[in-house]
């Protein structure tokens, strides 16, 4: 009964959302949205190189994303350009090079659209296994390094003074981000990967009082968005990736409206008292 494409899509999507939630929080906290976008865009270059050298796409994409992260770090230290311009140059040029390379490879037919927007309904058990084992590893590292990552987020100088090795923590963050981009590629695609990281986390921010609450809520919102989005896409025959992201956006907007109303009520009761 579980072996239909819809169940596989839900299982894969839920797994991805659980990892994307906490990682997305760090993307939001450390203002890495554009950085994540750059990594995601470079994924297509990873796809092209993987096909050319006949290596596993997951590994190829991960390696390219990670290399791009290193390059960003290096250029960022020495560049005259602002951070976002550097990222813009890398982001779009790697996407363009990826597209050109893919089109040059006449001996394989690569459906670029699948990589741009994902194809969650075509996910197979092998890929699900990869997402869950890789995801477990990502979550394990996150939990293990949690206090280092939080210290780095709060203040790098304090983290250094208290021996929490922020440079190390930042490196781990890059590896984890590269990994999630590789995993998300097949599911929501290059264009929507960052949204799966950011939107649930942004929605969770409105309700959370501590970093841990935000991470758990972000995972929860992501799971809801995946399930709701996939049901929507089956029901009214819309593309699954965008439907998932749209559902996440719906949760975010609902969150904004609720917190506004609650705050207004509080203000009113405060005035009465």
């Amino acid at each position: 009964m579980f072996d239909d494409f819809f169940s596989r899509a839900i299982i894969a999507g839920v797994g991805l959302a659980i990892i994307a939630g906490p990682l997305g929080c760090f993307v939001v906290w450390q203002r890495l949205a554009y950085f994540g976008d750059t990594m995601a865009h470079s994924a297509l270059l990873g796809v092209a190189l993987s096909i050319a050298f006949e290596i596993n796409i997951l590994i190829g994409v991960f390696s390219v994303c990670f290399l791009i992260a290193l390059v960003v770090g290096r250029i960022g230290e020495q560049s005259m350009l602002s951070g976002d311009s550097t990222l813009g140059v890398l982001s779009h040029s790697s996407l363009a090079i990826g597209l050109v390379l893919v089109s040059l490879m006449y001996w394989v037919r690569v459906d670029v659209l699948h990589y741009l927007f994902g194809n969650i309904l075509a996910v197979n058990w092998n890929e699900i296994l990869m997402i869950y084992s890789g995801g477990a590893l990502i979550l394990f590292v996150l939990v293990l390094k949690w206090s280092n990552l939080i210290c780095l987020t709060v203040n790098e100088q304090i983290a250094t003074a208290e021996n929490k090795r922020p440079t190390n923590a930042r490196f781990i963050m890059m590896v984890l981000l590269a990994a999630i981009v590789a995993f998300a590629l097949k599911i929501v695609g290059i264009i929507l990967t960052v949204s799966l990281l950011i939107i649930p986390a942004a929605a969770a921010r409105q309700f959370a009082k501590t970093p841990e609450q935000m991470a758990v809520l972000a995972a929860l919102f992501g799971v809801i968005a995946v399930i709701f989005g996939l049901m929507l896409s089956i029901e009214i025959d819309t593309p699954p990736g965008p439907s998932i992201v749209m559902s996440a956006a719906g949760i975010f907007i609902a969150g904004v409206i609720t917190t506004r109303i609650v705050r207004k009520r509080q203000r009113r009761t405060n005035q009465v008292v």
């Binding site: 210290c151 987020t153 709060v154 100088q157 208290e162």
Partner: protein
């Protein structure tokens, strides 16, 4: 004990062709309060950052005794508004302390009632005290304070200085206190280092008990906890901090 906790040996930092600090020698012993004074841009924060490990000196060396625990209160930091963080949670970001310990530290800094507030809603002075409470909870061997009195009014400043002395006595830690107020240095300071890129002078502060105008202005309590550090500069600086030799 009189053991050396940390120090710098002719440490220099150059950024963009400019000396931020040049040939700084200093040492902090257990139980000693060292005040680092100097005008804005004189390199006080750089010295603190070199000692805390954020900046590696371009020449010279940093000495630290093995396994030293540092409590660091940086100058003017902000926590990103995207990060949900209560004062209570901020206390535990590195290691987990017991609730009683946390509340004692917050109470000592007079911010216990703010324990469950988001840190972003604190005022500058309250946030500074929260960071101070954090540093204390660690029971540090060395306390690095970069302009800890900013955002405090005069009374708050005096109270803070008394607390620093108190903490030193209780924890028997070394304290490095960077402070831009050239004229007002705590009487309890053991060593005052005046820097302007390089070290201008080092000495002990003098009491101002007999200074009537100071007492009238700030009250006798203030006079007892503050002293004028009298120092005369016997040289002038070029913009890069080097000394103009008199001819």
């Amino acid at each position: 004990m009189d053991s050396m906790l940390a120090g710098l040996q002719s440490a220099s930092v150059i950024r963009n062709g400019r000396w931020l600090i040049r040939d700084i020698d200093l040492s902090i012993r257990r139980g000693e309060i060292v005040s680092l004074i100097g005008p804005n841009g004189s390199g006080k924060t750089t010295v603190v950052k070199v000692l805390s490990g954020s900046i590696t000196p371009d020449s010279g060396s940093v000495l630290k005794s093995n396994g030293i625990r540092i409590g660091y209160v940086p100058q003017r930091i902000a926590i990103d508004s995207t990060l949900p963080m209560t004062v209570r949670r901020l206390m535990n970001i590195n290691e987990k302390f017991q609730t009683i310990e946390v509340e004692e530290a917050l109470d000592e800094m007079n911010i216990l009632k703010l324990a469950d507030q988001p840190v972003q809603e604190l005022s500058g002075g309250e946030f500074q005290r929260a960071l101070f409470a954090r540093a204390l909870l660690r029971k540090p061997d060395l306390l690095l304070l970069d302009e800890p009195s900013q955002g405090l009014d005069f009374k708050g400043e005096i109270k803070l200085y008394n607390q620093i002395v108190d903490i030193r006595d209780r924890l028997n830690c070394g304290v490095l206190l960077a402070c831009h107020n050239l004229h007002m240095v705590m009487a309890q300071t053991d060593t005052v280092i005046c820097i302007n890129c390089h070290i201008c002078c080092v000495g002990t502060p003098m009491h101002v008990v007999n200074n009537k105008s100071f007492e009238e202005l700030f009250g006798s309590e203030a006079a007892r906890s503050h002293a004028l550090y009298q120092h005369h500069h016997d040289h002038n600086h070029l913009p890069d901090g080097s000394i103009i030799s008199e001819q």
